[in-house]
């Protein structure tokens, strides 16, 4: 039984295809989210430094106001505010700078260092204020004021710089958003294309075997079992289905073949039986013919035997010989009607026949025998030579004043023995010969001309189950030559 690969079953294939499409859609979603996230980050980054710098600037102003407030009023509240804001500022700028990668980092570094310097100077100013050292606190306040100016300048510069860059970045952003939009459209189109291809793959993979099966089923329904086996490349349920279908088709085809073969054998058998019946019928015809030509063989045979007895008694030796020959001829005719005989027996019969003719016609009818003795044991149908010799005598020689010669040749070759009956009589035209041979067996009743020849030919063919065993060569005025081929029967 065909086994399917459990990893490539229809269910698993469907899962893989569905997951592929889900994966593609997930890729699209993740891509879109990533892009959105980057843009969000980008927009945030564009403003985060501004916000940060604005916070630093505001705190600086507050810090300076607190410092000035304390220096002018020595108010502990202002000092407290100064300390709080100072700490806030320190925390705010704590991680503002790490390394200088670009000009903005450099400016940020300056701001951080300047804030440090500011706080140092401010602290000194506060300390001298507490010591009531006016000149010193004023000097340090001046320094802190100067530093505050530097810080403000740097914050402005940095803000301007970022504003400039942000405006460039924004233009770039808009341009790139357009490009990205186009890319996203293209991605969506490609994804649709990919999904369609995957759907096509799934459907074609499922529909194709069904289509093949339905076509094959249609052919079988029309009786055509010679369709090719359905080939399924996948190792899934379709393979099982296709294998079962192919098996079913081949089984039905083989059963039908067997039935046909049996029917043919039966038909052959019936044909054989029919042939046998026909042969019997032909033999009956031959018998009838013999009876008709010899009146009543039994009566004649008995009469001839009486003639033999009488001749012996009257000591008429020749007459006795004549009657004996005649008796022998009739005996052969009567005995051999429904069995096979040897060629030698047939030759002997013809010799008897010759003896009778010799009595009637003397030397006017002459016989020549050229017999290959090796062929004499050949089995042949009985009475195949006598009708031919009779024909040669009756239709060929009897009308001729000078008589003629009937030659009987028996030649043995490697695959067959050839028997030739040839006369030197009137002969006949080829057309006549064709007419004789081509008349069907059913025409026997309607014409007696050629009946003996056809009878011999038909029996020969039935006996050996072969055609083309009989041939007539003739010419008007030049005698007739009948050639019979006796095939060598295989043991």
């Amino acid at each position: 039984m065909t086994k399917i690969n459990k990893f490539s079953s229809i269910r698993n294939n469907m899962i893989v295809y569905t997951l592929s499409i889900i994966f593609l859609m997930t890729v699209l979603s993740i891509y879109s989210l990533t892009i959105m996230e980057r843009y969000q980050g980008q927009i945030e980054a564009m403003f985060e430094k501004h916000i940060y710098l604005s916070q630093v600037g505001s705190l600086m102003i507050e810090l300076d106001e607190d410092l000035l407030g304390f220096l002018s009023s020595k108010s502990s509240t202002r000092l407290n505010d100064y300390i709080i804001n100072s700490e806030k500022l320190e925390i705010l700028v704590e991680d503002a700078y790490e390394k200088t990668f670009n000009a903005e980092d450099m400016m940020m570094k300056n701001i951080v260092n300047l804030i440090d310097a500011y706080v140092i100077e401010a602290d000194k100013a506060i300390a001298y204020k507490r010591q009531r050292n006016v000149i010193k606190y004023y000097e340090h306040y001046q320094k802190s004021f100067k530093i505050k100016g530097f810080i403000a300048d740097y914050i402005d510069q940095l803000n301007n710089r970022q504003l400039n860059r942000n405006s460039v970045t924004y233009t770039q952003l808009v341009r790139q958003i357009v490009i990205l939009q186009n890319i996203t459209y293209m991605i969506v189109i490609v994804l649709i294309g990919l999904s369609l291809m995957i759907v096509y793959l799934i459907t074609s993979r499922m529909v194709k075997p069904f289509s093949h099966l339905s076509h094959a089923a249609e052919e079988i329904a029309l009786g055509n079992f010679d369709t090719e086996d359905i080939v399924v490349e996948s190792e899934d349920e379709f393979l099982l289905l296709a294998t079962a279908f192919n098996h079913m088709k081949n089984s039905i085809k083989s059963y039908i073949g067997e039935i046909k073969k049996n029917a043919e054998t039966e038909a052959k058998l019936k044909d054989e039986q029919l042939k046998n019946i026909k042969m019997e019928h032909l033999l009956d015809n031959a018998k009838l013919y013999a009876l008709q030509s010899q009146i009543n063989p039994h009566f004649l045979f008995n009469t001839i035997n009486a003639g033999v007895q009488m001749s012996i008694m009257e000591r008429a030796t020749k007459t006795s010989q004549f009657f004996q020959t005649m008796a022998s001829l009739f005996r052969y005719n009567i005995q051999k009607m429904d069995s096979s005989c040897t060629l030698q027996e047939e030759i002997e019969n013809i010799k008897d026949y010759y003896e009778l003719l010799k009595v009637r016609f003397g030397d006017r009818i002459r016989f020549q025998f050229n017999i290959n003795s090796e062929a004499l044991n050949m089995k042949v149908p009985p009475l195949i030579l006598q009708p031919l010799v009779e024909n040669a005598y009756v239709h060929g020689l009897s009308g001729l004043e000078e008589g003629g010669t009937i030659t009987i040749n028996v030649v043995d070759e490697w695959d067959a023995t050839f028997i030739t009956v040839k006369d030197t009589g009137k002969g006949m035209t080829v057309n006549v010969a064709d007419q004789i041979l081509n008349k069907s067996r059913d025409d026997y009743e309607h014409t007696k001309f050629g009946i003996g020849i056809r009878n011999v030919r038909d029996r020969l063919e039935l006996f050996f189950h072969q055609s083309d065993l009989f041939k007539i060569e003739c010419e008007k005025g030049a005698g007739v030559k009948i050639i019979m081929k006796i095939p060598h029967m295989k043991e």
Partner: protein
Amino acid sequence: MNKRITFTTILILSMILLFLLGMGLYLSNSIAEATKGEYLWESMLPAEYHVMAILDKSNQTYDLSFKEGLKQSSEDYKIAVEIIMFEGENVEDEVLNIMDLAIYAKADGVIVHAFDNPRIINKIDELMHLGIAVITLNEDLPQTDRVSYVGVNRYKIGLEAGGALARATNGVGKIAVIEQQNYQKLSNQQQDLLLLGITDALRDYPSLSFELVRYTKQGLLNAEILATEIARDYPEINGIFCTNAENTLGVVQVLVDNNLVNRIALVGYGDDDEILGYIERGKIIESSVVTDYKDIGKEALKVFYEYKKNSYVPSYINTALQVIDEENIAAYMTEKSEAYDKNQ
């Protein structure tokens, strides 16, 4: 459809998809990078030092060539350079103010267009005391603790200018010098060096004498007035040397307008395209003394770096000087244009 075609199409579409996704992410990434600001250098490495360059906005020394020199060394030695230009009437206070900024911002070094002024001298010493390396331009100020002076040797300028004037006047006549005076009078020492150079150059030409020096203030018109006065009051003067490009171009206008081109030979200063054009066309400007400003920028940062690494550097660095005349103008212009293309 053939199975192979289907799979090939899926493969091609997948590759296109990957390419488009990659391109989309790359583009979105490049946007994110844009907010970070340009790196100082292509290598994207952080700076090791921070140097403030305090420069005179009106001085042509600190033009593109000088900045190019700074940029080159800054990249070579990973030094972040912050250029702060000063201008106005009270330049000394400006310089002092920016030097204070360098102290508070904790810069590692200062390249300053210095003046021979006690407050500036003290400030230089204060910076050096705080560990901020000071390199002076314009004024040597050897009396300070400064690391080094980088600039042209004014004696050599005088020597070259004197030689050029002698060639232009065929060694006969009288010559005048129009000197630029920035914000204040130059120190005597500087003045002496330039004039000494000219005098030494004329020593081989007994028929040629150094007649007078005139000082201009800011602006082109000032030079024009001086040149007109010289031409009117000193008809025997047949050669003028200008110590900066602006003055040179001002004098050119006077010579052309008063048809004095063939009477007074002009030796200029600098390699402005206009000046080079006049030399190339011939007759109006005979030659021009050109300082390699780029070299000044380069050397200033180099000496700072070497000082930070070795603490021992030469106290005086002279940069290259060249006289451009009719003979070498073509080669010089080609070289300049190639350098410009390279920078582009």
